[in-house]
């Protein structure tokens, strides 16, 4: 409820669209999706947070958990986020240094490809 999840392949990278509120109530659904994608051998992920209205520490924990899972397979989890109120919680928790945070899905994919 109040969280919409979608995902699609773009240039061999799996893009996850997240819309709504990621909190203690909805975070389990995002966790399940990330685990499911990794189980299906998608290790290069971009999570598009442009339509996220609310993110709390439970949601952050799920993103960090996803990052650990893809890293265990030498993969990556990049974020797309330009909203100041969402970026603020990444800064408060020091996670801006942990995630690659990009301005658009295209930018995230381009930088990831260049990194290889």
């Amino acid at each position: 409820m109040d969280l919409k999840l979608g995902h699609y392949d773009k240039d061999g990278i799996e893009v996850v669209d997240v819309e709504g509120e990621i909190d203690v109530y909805t975070a389990p659904r995002l966790r399940e999706l990330l685990i499911d994608l990794v189980n299906k051998k998608n290790y290069q992920l971009v999570v598009n947070m442009e339509k996220v209205e609310f993110l709390d520490s439970t949601g952050l924990g799920v993103l960090v958990g996803g990052l650990k899972r893809v890293r265990a397979h030498d993969g990556s989890l990049d974020l797309v986020c330009t909203q100041e109120r969402i970026l603020k919680i990444f800064r408060i928790t020091g996670l801006t240094k942990v995630f690659g945070i990009h301005n658009s899905v295209d930018e995230a994919i381009a930088e990831r490809k260049a990194d290889k």
């Binding site: 909190d23 966790r31 709390d56 439970t58 960090v64 958990g65 650990k68 603020k88 919680i89």
Partner: protein
């Protein structure tokens, strides 16, 4: 006396209700729009912690939230009844294999002032913000 007091059963869905209430009461107490997001997030963090602790230790007990706007400060006190002083162990509420991000650190980064105290068997987290405009 607090302006508005709320008590709710420890269900994750009620954390949203608590956030909604805190934002509405803060807005009507004259808290600046730019600060409302901070209030919403901080109250949500405190209530999420309380809900997880109650689910482990005392699922029958309500969590209490008191909101007070005196025109100078807007204060929210979230009180749980969980006997544990230590944080709830990681994974206790189904967060297995996720990194536990410290909600208290988030609250400390958001509120102008945070005080943590013992409250009966449980813990209270008092968060406050300076009010920038007078109440309506």
């Amino acid at each position: 006396m607090a302006t508005v007091e709320v008590a709710f059963t420890p269900l994750p869905a009620h954390v949203r209700t608590a956030r909604l209430i805190a934002t509405a009461v803060a807005r009507r107490s004259g808290v600046d729009e730019s600060v409302l997001d901070e209030v919403r997030l901080a109250v949500g963090e405190a209530c999420s912690r309380a809900v997880e602790a109650h689910r482990v230790y005392c699922p029958q007990q309500p969590i209490r939230v008191a909101l007070t706007g005196d025109g100078e400060r807007f204060e929210v006190v979230v009180t749980d009844a969980a006997p544990a002083v230590e944080p709830v162990p990681a994974g206790a509420a189904g967060t297995a294999s996720d990194t536990v991000i410290d909600g208290l650190a988030v609250i400390a980064g958001l509120a102008d002032d945070v005080r943590i105290g013992a409250a009966g068997p449980g813990t209270s987290i008092a968060m406050s913000w300076k009010q920038r405009i007078p109440p309506a």
